[in-house]
């Protein structure tokens, strides 16, 4: 198991948001975390990447990461594309790329840049532009590219479809599919758009006010009309 989370509890100051979550992400697999606004999905990702300090057990390839600081968890191979995308707006596309690969010392960085240019040709076009001048879709691609340049074991994606036009979202998810097929990265995907997420994922969990109320193979959940109607709204 790439990521194993047991009894995860977290919150902001006196407000507790997560009340004991259990979930996992397989090596090279895609796990979807679904739920309505306020369910705690973003908080869950933050707890895994260390932006907030969780209680409970978080194991990355068997190693305890709960309680480590964000930088250390990133260096262990967890790339988090946060809510709002986290792009370095004042820096250029090139600089964002360089920052993605900042911690790497291996010689394959140049090859990875080339791969990102192939997957995201528009980013190559806008190489020396300030990231803040890119469109929403391009910024999302930049955020994903930056995360991938870490050569992560685990990719955390917070609502990649957020605020994007449907056509662009399709492009993004096509890329995510490519990521799943061509690299061995495990993905923990938080999405409000359950349909898209279930299409991509192997396994899914449904979060409701800080608790997991349902889990199972994505294909099953997708086909179960009763579950879809009552929990996912379609």
């Amino acid at each position: 198991m790439l990521l194993e989370v047991k009894n995860l509890r977290a919150g902001y100051g006196p407000t507790q948001v997560l009340f004991g979550l259990d979930f996992a992400v397989a090596e090279g697999g895609v796990t979807a975390l679904l739920g309505a606004n306020g369910a705690g999905k973003t908080t869950t990702l933050r707890a895994v990447s260390g932006l907030i300090r969780p209680e409970g057990e978080v194991l990355l390839s068997g190693q305890r990461i709960a309680g480590l600081i964000t930088e250390s968890i990133a260096r262990l191979g967890v790339a988090h594309v946060p809510d709002g995308r986290g792009t370095f707006m004042e820096l250029t596309v090139e600089e964002n790329f360089r920052l993605g690969a900042y911690t790497r010392r291996d010689p394959d960085v140049a090859a990875d840049f080339a791969r990102m240019w192939e997957w995201f040709p528009r980013l190559k076009q806008r190489w020396r532009q300030q990231a803040g001048t890119l469109s929403g879709g391009e910024q999302q691609m930049l955020a994903i590219a930056r995360a991938l340049l870490l050569r992560p074991k685990l990719l955390l994606l917070d609502e990649p479809s957020f605020g994007l036009a449907p056509l662009i979202v399709q492009d993004i998810f096509a890329i995510l599919r490519r990521i799943r097929e061509e690299s061995g990265v495990g993905i923990l995907l938080v999405e409000q758009n359950a349909n898209l997420a279930l299409d991509l994922a192997d396994h899914a969990y449904l979060l409701e006010t800080g608790r997991i109320v349902m889990s199972g193979p994505a294909a099953e959940i997708r086909q179960d009309e009763a579950i879809r109607r009552s929990y996912l709204g379609y």
Partner: protein
């Protein structure tokens, strides 16, 4: 005409010093969104340390380099020990801490090194007029040195990985952490670098105004004016602002208000900028969300 050129040249020379201190201020501002009121005192202390090294027999440039290193360490320590504990405190506490540092460092300098005005040597064969008599050799030398420092700093931030990481940590600490940058270390390094830059300014200005514990206060003011004029979130802008202020100060002092009120010129510039164009000549406008 020659008098005008003289003032202009002198303005550029002092402007270089203001530009250096302005850069130090802006670097810390970018990283922390706070203004280091104690920047001047730190530079003065560094200059006294340099003098001590020189008086101990070290050649000038060895003492110069040594002072850079010591200042760097001092700046990083101040960040770690004094700034770090209050990083989440309200703004008033921060201002208070800066004031406290100003008091401590300023008074410590006076206590350890005494309050008598001292001479500080210039490495540029003090005093001979150059460029057709427009500018003294020291002034020219100090412009060259400050420009060299500024160019090196520029290259560091734009061309090196570490410089990029420091900028990233200043712009977006959260995202910087997410790519594995140790933001806390970057902050300490930034302070160290700012202190080192400030020490250069101190060593360049001391031969002109003579060294005493209050040397940098007026300069700090001009540096503030320069940083604001250029845009406090814009390092190259702040540098240009520093040069501009140097020239404006000298010209205004010579032709408009007289040397007695030169500090007032800085004040007027500061107020003028903030009232007319708060983001400075080259800065960006920032919007606040409700």
């Amino acid at each position: 005409m020659e008098a005008f050129l003289l003032q202009l040249a002198a303005g550029i020379a002092t402007g270089g010093i203001y530009a250096s201190v302005a850069l130090a201020i802006v670097m810390i501002y970018q990283a922390t969104h706070h203004v280091n009121f104690a920047q001047g005192e730190m530079a003065t202390l560094s200059t006294f340390i340099a003098l001590t090294m020189i008086q101990a027999g070290l050649p000038y440039w060895v003492a110069f380099a040594g002072t850079l290193v010591v200042s760097f360490v001092m700046g990083a320590l101040v960040e770690r020990l004094i700034m770090r504990p209050v990083q989440h405190a309200p703004i008033l506490t921060h201002v208070g801490v800066y004031i406290g540092m100003l008091l401590i460092i300023g008074n410590m300098t006076g206590w350890v090194f005494g309050y008598t005005i001292q001479m500080f040597p210039s490495p540029f064969e003090g005093g001979k007029p150059m460029l057709g008599g427009l500018i003294s050799s020291h002034q020219l030398g100090s412009v060259v040195v400050t420009l060299a420092v500024l160019i090196l700093v520029y290259l560091f931030f734009t061309k090196t990985s570490l410089g990029l990481a420091m900028r990233a940590a200043a712009y977006n600490p959260r995202s910087a952490r997410l790519v594995g940058i140790r933001v806390d270390v970057m902050l300490a390094l930034g302070w160290g670098l700012a202190a080192a830059i400030g020490s250069v300014a101190g060593m360049m200005v001391a031969p002109i105004v003579f060294l005493d514990p209050n040397m940098m206060l007026g300069i700090l003011l001009y540096a503030f004016a320069g940083a604001l004029l250029g845009g406090i979130d814009n390092p190259p802008g702040a540098v240009m602002g520093g040069f501009l202020v140097g020239v404006l100060e000298n010209l205004a002092g010579a032709y408009i208000v007289g040397t007695d009120l030169k500090l007032t010129v800085a004040l007027v510039i500061i107020i003028g900028v903030l009232v007319l164009k708060p983001s400075g000549l080259f800065g960006r406008v920032v919007f606040t969300r409700v």
